[in-house]
Symmetry: C2
Subunit: 262 residues, 2 copies
């Protein structure tokens, strides 16, 4: 490989054998030297979980051919993968971390539950520029050509024009044929929630158990909300930060609360 190519860490939450990470590795290999550290099993909806009560395993795998310098499957969560990659695989911070391509949306409130985005956020916390990619199609046999096209454009744009201050982007790609996609849009996280509903069943021993299901409730009417832009046919790009402080509430609280000194 030529010298001075960026070191790119690729991870995901669907597991190292998913089609989505394979597509992302192909794109990443056009830009730099690729290392993969990804979960050895599906880790969707793991949020920012880390493994503190179990030891972690790393095993080298050879499933990406000459697209990668090294690839490892890890027994932990997506966030564990990033931490282990920096400390035990690369022994340095990579120049870029790419997470995905997730099979399913991480727009709107999904960003909070997403293992894909939490891995990318962990990289950003460690000072690494990071992008999470998600596709609004849950099938593991989906056509990922539009995803690869836009992933390449976005990585290229970031390397050319610089990353946001927050160092982190949440990219979602609509489930449309490439020619139907209207382009890309810089968005904010749509205000939305999942309305929880559990499917109650009874096991052969007569004990109840519950499966999580739910309905997605969109509550944002702005055109620039990521959820809305996706439904209009745009690739949504949201700059993401991890300071959860509600600054507007700080002054409100200082005014309304008394006796703070007691």
């Amino acid at each position: 490989m030529e010298k001075n190519r960026p070191i790119i860490l690729v991870t995901n939450d669907d597991g190292i054998v998913s089609q989505g990470i394979r597509a992302l590795v192909e794109v990443a290999a056009k830009f730099g030297e690729v290392y993969v550290v990804a979960p050895d099993k599906p880790q969707s909806a793991m949020g920012h979980a880390i493994t503190i009560s179990q030891p972690l395993r790393l095993s080298e795998v050879d499933i990406f051919g000459d697209k990668v310098s090294k690839a490892y499957e890890c027994s932990g969560t997506p966030v564990d993968c990033v931490k282990l990659a920096v400390d035990k695989v690369l022994h340095r911070r990579p120049d870029l971390c790419l997470s995905g391509i997730n099979h399913g949306s991480n727009a709107a409130i999904n960003v909070i539950y997403s293992g894909t985005m939490s891995a990318a956020m962990e990289a950003a916390i460690e000072g690494i520029n990071a992008i999470g990619f998600s596709f609004l199609n849950y099938s593991h046999h989906a056509d990922l050509r539009a995803c690869k096209y836009y992933a390449e454009k976005i990585i290229d744009n970031c390397l050319e024009n610089g990353f946001p201050q927050s160092a982190l982007l949440n990219v979602n790609i609509p489930d449309l044929p490439m020619e139907k996609i209207k382009g890309m849009k810089i968005c904010h996280q749509a205000n939305a929630k999942w309305e929880e509903r559990f499917d109650e069943r009874t096991d052969p021993q007569g004990r109840k158990y519950y499966w999580l299901t739910g309905n997605f409730i969109a509550r944002d009417t702005h055109n620039d909300a990521d959820w809305n832009s996706l439904h209009e046919g745009y690739v949504s790009i949201v700059p993401i930060q991890y300071d959860l402080t509600s600054y507007s509430d700080i002054s409100l609280l200082k005014e309304s609360w008394e006796d703070l000194s007691e």
Copy 2:
């Protein structure tokens, strides 16, 4: 119980038998009718994980005596507990959700990894006013008197003066004798990170495994940062929101990126 007392859901991430949740239940019982739905085992550092590949179990337990109306242990994550409580235990949204008291700090970047705070955040997403409490002492035999005193003051203040717009507070209590605590302070989330370091070991079969360890790196010099306020002897109170958009980066990206329409 008297009529019209608020319905209060109590949960945590250390598990239903921890001392922290017992202390919080005692405080909550002074304000309303208490229901507990908490993990049946420790779920620290689970972040905003939800359980989608396994069914969940709920079992009624009788360990809080007459302090609670009902208490259940749940096989899932802290976020699962809140979702199940609303849909299958209360069949309505509670008036208030309290999470903790966590055995260990959730100040600064710890809020991202915290199961305690993710449970409270899940409640806020569902439109429920919520407070997460954490104590800067990891011992499960710690003296929780100062925690109970300040939890009561803060809940009282919220019910009297109203919740922040974001509906969510992250409260951390310093590990000091009550008379040494200087009071409460409205703070922002301190800029900080964990510097990952894995302890590498070899199992009896000769295979390597890794334990997550790390050093906390404080990077915030403001007096109003929660981490700094705690070290000065204050109880820190941070209003928290779950819109992760970095709004300042939106205009920057719109300016620097071209060809968005392609």
